[in-house]
Point group: C2
Chain length 325, copies 2
DNA sequence: CTGTTAGCGCTTTCAT
DNA sequence: ATGAAAGCGCTAACAG
């Protein structure tokens, strides 16, 4: 039978209160502590999380809500978050909403029921539910209101950096290719600052921004390229899109990177610490995870934290400094 | 303030017992049920999972223990498991052991403390802890003993299939390149049945099997290829290795697939439903996840299930029917 | 500094 | 069929 606190108390010849104090690292007399610890070891006692949760309403769990974990960026982010949390003795519920607002709602309800201490969310749907859940909440990549904490990569700098890199490679006619959703989010800055930088540097550019969910992407890209035949440098909203663009280019008989340069966004790699899939603006995933967790736990602990964390991006390329095509 | 069962009972004018019965779908008089349901809706009552867990020792949570979630196969598997569980109203703890036995042990302890109802594990370390944990357990890709349930892809068929495909492509001199660990596991059958099939078909072959953790892989592969210059068809333990082999081949000036054919294992894709990264033996990830969850929940429910589930694999190639190089 | 005790919200007998 | 009551294992308030 599983040992309870009472068993430990009896064996150690103390009251349950003292056992509880030892467990929770409060101050007790040295002799008491050693006797309790001894008993704990002998009985292989482990506190019952559910009893504690019932009593305290704190559970050392955090929910991570993502739109799709298929996306390598999200997957890597999820893993980083999990390990940051584990390091602080927190557990993580992985909630995969599939970009479905209904599912997201279900999850919020589910995790409230499970008394998570807080939520980290990459969400492109409504915020009200998060607010109303009254739970500490950190948003990734999306700005809501002043008082919602969020952490994001520096998408603006990324957009500028892409222009810079493209120009370094002697491109004359740039393009942005991406997809977007109605709801505002930080990734829109990739396009916005790409355009701002193009204007500042007085370089010709065109934009293809498609409303999601994406359909007939290849056809649209083809038409876009037909309409603007001079394009020799392309910045895409993410690495997935970059790969798609590379595909289309190849089918059109244009060679990457000799004829056209392509830069993605995210920093996807095939294997850990391996080459990037395409030239790309790399998001500091691990850092973003760490920051999110730190902020969330700080809020949970009742501290005040910066509402806004913007993390630097970098240019990354595979060993050839060229997209694998 | 959050409503409790007592509040509901009072509002409905019944005892808490009846509320509990309604919640748990037991039989109650029709009028009682409707009054309770009404009160539940009005008060927005949600049962407290922790109180219930304390009382019943069942928690509707399952732990998934993986060696590394960076590996795309594991990542996809994790997602599938999560969604199968969610469909059955179960939550999942994601436990990322990093192939570290110590971390694995910690996790087991952690999840026992959290009263998970069962464990699904891809583990290459000791089993004793799982056994001793006395929790329903489903092993992926690894056979322990007769009474431990496991589900796996048909690695044997995969090994044979690789030989078959390679011969179809007129290869004359095959090779297996892989890594291995001391502990036995199902993936060793990839090599074993590759060899068996080679022998049966009387085709020349060589083997490079490296002890993990892998170091200086490229050098070893180079030396291996130097030592066996005639090799024109390679089967690797997984897609990662296939990519590495493609790299090495390219650096040696050998062209894939014109000079050498390469077939991996797993079925990694860059994007969901997109082309495979390399020609490969595809594991039915979603099916494996479904089967694991079904088996585990069956055991939890006290039913008896097949201890051994072997799921079919298939040959898969990118649209060019050639590895992207 | 420490033992005792009252619940946390739920399920589950036990009467009724 | 259902209300009353015990108690799951823990924490925290209180009294000493």
């Amino acid at each position: 039978m599983k040992a309870t606190m009472k068993d430990v108390a009896k064996m150690a010849g103390v009251g349950v209160g003292s056992v509880s104090r030892v467990i929770n690292g409060e101050h007790v007399k040295e002799t008491t502590r050693t006797r309790v610890e001894e008993a704990i070891k002998v009985l292989d006692y482990q506190p019952d999380i559910y009893a504690r949760g019932l009593k305290t309403n704190r559970t050392n769990t955090v929910a991570l809500i993502l739109p799709s974990v298929w996306h390598p960026f999200f997957a890597e982010f999820a893993l980083s978050v999990e390990s940051c949390l584990a390091a602080q003795n927190y557990k993580m519920y992985l909630c995969n909403s599939n970009g479905n607002a209904e599912k997201e709602r279900e999850y919020i309800q589910m995790v409230q029921q499970n008394k998570v201490d807080g939520i980290i969310g990459i969400t492109y749907s409504d915020i009200d539910q998060y607010i109303s859940s009254n739970l500490p909440f950190v948003s990734i990549d999306r700005y809501f209101t002043e008082d919602v904490i969020y952490v994001t990569a520096d998408n603006a700098a990324g957009g500028r950096l892409a222009v810079d890199e493209l120009l370094k490679r002697r491109c004359r006619h740039l393009a942005y290719i991406g997809g977007y959703q109605e709801t505002p989010n930080e990734t829109k800055n990739r396009r916005k600052y790409f355009e701002i930088e193009c204007n500042a540097r007085q370089v010709q550019y065109d934009v293809l921004d498609m409303l999601e969910p994406l359909t007939q992407v290849n056809r649209h890209i083809n038409e876009f390229l037909d309409a603007h035949p001079g394009i020799d440098g392309i910045f895409t909203i993410n690495d997935d899109m970059a790969l798609t663009v590379c595909d289309v280019l190849q089918q059109r008989g244009q060679h990457v990177p000799d004829d056209v340069q392509v830069i993605g966004f995210d920093g996807q790699r095939i294997k850990e610490q391996d080459d990037f899939l395409v030239s790309t603006i790399v998001q500091p995933v691990a850092l973003m995870a760490q920051k999110s967790v730190d902020s969330l736990l700080a809020v949970i602990a009742g501290q005040t934290v910066d509402n806004r964390t913007v993390l630097p991006v970098a240019f990354g390329a595979s060993w050839t400094t060229q997209p694998i095509q």
